[in-house]
């Protein structure tokens, strides 16, 4: 087993544990509390080091759990009894604890194998040499055992308490009503976060643990809104970042843990851009599509109104471009789309609305005029209804049109005296 393998495995195990728990933190809007906890366990760890004189795991866990508990209790006390705002309470407590931890470490730095920088970003590079010895034989790196165990514990927690975690995250009141002890779940989760921080502490340090918790879950949240998928993606992203981080740090000599976080961030950035629905690109495309559709609709409406008013049926390309109120830069595109969709046909001698095009245009017109009539029934002044209907017409689907028609009791003529087209045959959706 190469060094790279052990290091990546350690990172992956840490990231998986953190990703699992962190997703719940993100969904429960407790990211900052998680951040605070991971900082605040430091004095607990430091004290455990000094008192036990070794790097044994159990005292560290105890110390961390104690520190975590104190933090949670103090934050509650400040917030409830002293009426300090919640985020200020968190800020005061965790910085004080962290400062205490750093002071302890600096003061006793000579005596224990722990320095300030290690606190921040760990020493994952030393993993392959940090071996667990039993009866003289090496069982592999210690961190792998610790983190592996932690992952198992977290998987157990999430697996057994899945329902409770989900309900208490989305609707704490409901959870209580169902007899689920939301407070217990809260403390259980906080405890798991504290312990996982300790387990990952030596490998990735205090501050980067936060990244491993929050970032994968957030990135996953951009891709899916189903919890099992989010959890799976979070773990997947974590593992990918572990591998990626290792290679980045070996190419560009730097802290491996830091590199893992940077890769995590990169994954998040890519998700931010590319995720369907939530991503920035997707939103841009959506907006563009909408504008195009509205342009097409306007063009169709313009044509059918001209047809109605002047009994025309053929137009030149220029006339089509100018039909409706279409922004200049969209005209060509809209026109091309209409032809491609078979709503407008023709050639150099002139363009006309196809059967399908006529049908669509009439539906739009019907919707527009129905809406005008409706607004008029509601008492809106007549010179306004046109503009309002202009915006709404694009968003009326068949169902809304039917309801509208029912509301205006089958009116035939709109407020401006123009005829409202009949419903016509239902068009296939497409």
């Amino acid at each position: 087993m190469s060094d790279a393998f052990w290091i990546i495995l350690t990172g992956a195990l840490a990231a998986s544990s953190c990703g699992l728990l962190g997703t719940f933190l993100v969904l429960r809007r407790m990211s900052l509390l998680g951040d605070a906890l991971s900082h605040a366990v430091l004095p607990g760890i430091a004290l455990a080091f000094f008192l036990s004189g070794s790097r044994a795991v159990l005292p560290m866990f105890l110390g961390a759990a104690l520190a975590g508990l104190c933090t949670t209790l103090l934050v509650e006390a400040l917030h409830r009894r002293w009426r300090v705002q919640e985020d200020a309470s968190i800020g005061i407590v965790f910085t004080a604890f962290f400062a205490l931890g750093v002071v302890l470490i600096s003061a006793y730095a000579g005596q224990v194998d722990l320095d300030q920088e290690c606190v921040l970003y760990g020493e994952i590079a030393y993993t392959p040499w940090d071996l667990l010895l039993w009866k003289g034989a090496s069982l592999g790196p210690r961190p792998v055992w610790i983190l592996g165990g932690m992952l198992l514990a977290n998987l157990l927690l999430v697996g057994l308490c899945y329902k409770e975690l989900v309900i208490s995250s989305f609707d704490p009141a409901m959870a209580v009503a169902l007899g689920i002890n939301a407070a217990a779940i809260h403390y259980l989760l906080m405890g798991a976060v504290s312990l996982t921080t300790v387990a990952a502490f030596e490998s990735v340090g205090a501050i980067l643990v936060v990244a491993l918790m929050i970032v994968p879950g957030s990135a996953a949240y951009l891709w899916s809104d189903r919890l099992p998928a989010i959890l799976g993606l979070a773990v997947g992203f974590g593992v990918a970042a572990a591998a990626g981080g290792y290679y980045l740090a070996s190419r560009w000599d730097s802290s491996i843990a830091g590199a893992m976080v940077v890769v995590q961030g990169g994954i998040f950035g890519v998700s931010l851009l590319l995720a369907p629905n939530q991503g920035l690109l997707a939103r841009l495309v959506q907006r563009g599509r909408l504008s195009l559709r509205m342009a097409q609709d306007h063009m169709l409406l313009g044509l059918v109104r001209r047809a109605e008013a002047r009994s025309e049926s053929h137009w030149s390309r220029l006339q089509v471009h100018q039909a409706g109120k279409v922004p200049t830069w969209l005209r060509g595109l809209a026109f091309r789309q209409l032809r491609r969709q078979g709503l407008v046909a023709g050639g150099a001698e002139g363009y006309h609305l196809t059967q399908a095009g006529k049908g669509e245009a009439l539906r739009l017109l019907r919707g527009h005029r129905l809406w005008e009539t409706y607004l008029n029934c509601l008492g809106l002044p007549e010179d306004h209804v046109h503009a309002g209907a202009d915006t709404v017409e694009h968003f009326l689907d068949d169902q809304l049109r039917q309801e509208l028609s029912a509301q205006v009791a089958g009116a035939q003529v709109d407020p401006q005296g123009k005829r409202i087209p009949d419903p016509g045959p239902p068009l296939a959706q497409g």
Binding site: R29, Q85, F98, I207, S254
Partner: protein, 440 residues
């Protein structure tokens, strides 16, 4: 150690002077701006800013090879602002909420900063010992040029706060009204944000990236305990911040390996703890005292009222057992409190039984009148039925001061033509409610 202290504070050493002044400025500005951040409920934005500044510091060094403070600060400011911008974009464009966005940006930028920092360390490109001071802060590394920069920045920050104090106050209290008054609130908000960025930049070298947030939160919250006026809070917060800076610097000068940031934070937290415990009115001790005084007053009132009411029934000379039964208290408690009232001259012992003194009768009458006035009010305003009023009246009577009593009298006289000189007991029989009150 004593002579070290004296040496330090005698300011003979020029370096010490710079460092001290620097810490003063840093603590002061953080305390100042921290108030606005805390009152805006944006305490942890400062944390995000500080962590996000780290890659900027490293990059500034890598690109220019210079460790001059203005260069590093510029890099820090740009990077910090980019971080804040990223948070806004994430929150504005996706379903990720602000707490996750802050934590995300904070830790990723910090991770990037660590990568850059460690790369610089390992590539051995000149001594990097200046850069890792930015992690936990080392005020001792401040030199004269640094101080010049910091002094200018601090002066600018102070001037801006003084000039635009009312605009910031208006923005935080009621931004809508400020806008309606004709001020461009977006601009004022940006201005405030800019000042916070500057403050973080000023403090980074001494406090460090990791703990800068604390200096923006803790002194401000501590100051809030002492006052109800914004101006006082702001100055007090600046004072606490400066104190933390000076003491923190001094302590860490005694132990060179100790970074200044954590010590400053601990001092600041100690000031906070002191404020939370001992501030008058809002501190824990004051509130406890107030609570005890309240309970005492209530108990005293209950005893007096019981005595007066018993006397009304023609009972002369009250025995312990009678009072105990009437109040629903254990006899020991009655004895204790009777003793207290006796010492205060409200009751006296006559042939082994208790009797109200004139003073006691007066006070007792007042308590009884309050109680009954309130009962009448509740009944006649049809808020509660006659058999339900005793307990609510019991709880309220201690809070009725003479002004309210007078108003009550007026209302009842006007509306019900009540003869307040002859307020009888509304309860024909016993109300069944024992005015036990809380344990004294």
């Amino acid at each position: 150690m004593l002579d070290q202290t004296l040496r330090f504070f005698s300011l003979a050493d020029a370096n010490v002077r710079y460092v001290l002044l620097g810490s003063l400025l840093i603590g002061g500005t953080s305390g100042l701006l921290g108030c606005f951040g805390v009152l805006r409920k944006r305490s942890l934005m400062g944390d995000a800013l500080a962590h996000a500044a780290l890659p900027g510091v490293a990059l500034a060094f890598m690109l220019t090879g210079s460790k001059a403070l203005p260069v590093l600060i510029l890099g820090a400011a740009i990077s910090g602002l980019l971080g804040v911008l990223a948070i806004q974009v994430i929150v504005g464009q996706t379903r990720i909420k602000s707490d996750a966005a802050i934590g995300l940006v904070l830790s990723v930028f910090f991770g990037l900063g660590i990568v850059l920092l460690t790369h610089v360390q390992r590539s051995g490109a000149g001594n990097q010992s200046g850069l890792d001071k930015f992690l936990f802060g080392q005020a001792a590394s401040l030199v004269e040029e640094d101080l010049r920069v910091m002094a200018w920045l601090a002066a600018g920050i102070l001037a801006a706060v003084v000039l635009f104090f009312k605009e910031f106050k208006g923005l935080i209290f009621d931004a809508g009204f400020l806008h309606a008054s004709g001020f461009p609130t977006r601009l004022v908000d940006l201005g405030l944000m800019g000042l916070i960025v500057l403050t973080v930049m000023v403090g980074l070298q001494a406090v460090g990236v990791v703990l800068m947030a604390a200096m923006l939160i803790t002194p401000a919250v501590a100051a809030r305990f002492w006052t109800e006026r914004l101006l006082t809070m702001v100055w007090l917060s600046a004072l606490f911040g400066s104190l933390s800076g000076v003491v923190g610097t001094f302590v860490s000068s005694l132990a060179p390996r100790l970074p200044t940031g954590p010590v400053m934070v601990l001092v600041s937290t100690a000031l906070f703890a002191f404020s939370a415990l001992f501030a008058p009115r809002r501190g824990a001790l004051a509130r406890w005292r107030q609570h005890r005084a309240n309970v005492r007053r209530e108990t005293r009132h209950h005893l007096l009222r019981a005595a007066v009411e018993l006397e009304e029934r023609g009972v002369r000379g009250l025995g312990l057992d009678q009072l105990a039964v009437r109040l629903g208290w254990p006899q020991g408690r009655v004895r204790r409190w009777a003793g207290r009232l006796a010492r205060e001259g409200l009751i006296q012992s006559v042939q082994g039984r208790w009797q109200l003194t004139e003073a006691g009768r007066q006070q007792g009458a007042f308590v009884v009148k309050s109680h009954r006035l309130w009962e009448y009010y509740l009944v006649h305003r049809e808020i509660l039925a006659a058999d339900h009023v005793d307990r609510p009246a019991d709880e309220v009577e201690h809070l009725l001061n003479p002004e309210i009593i007078t108003r009550l009298e007026e209302i009842l006289q006007q509306e019900r033509q009540l003869d307040i000189t002859r307020l009888g007991n509304l309860h024909k029989g016993e109300s069944g409610h024992r005015p036990g009150g809380r344990e004294g």
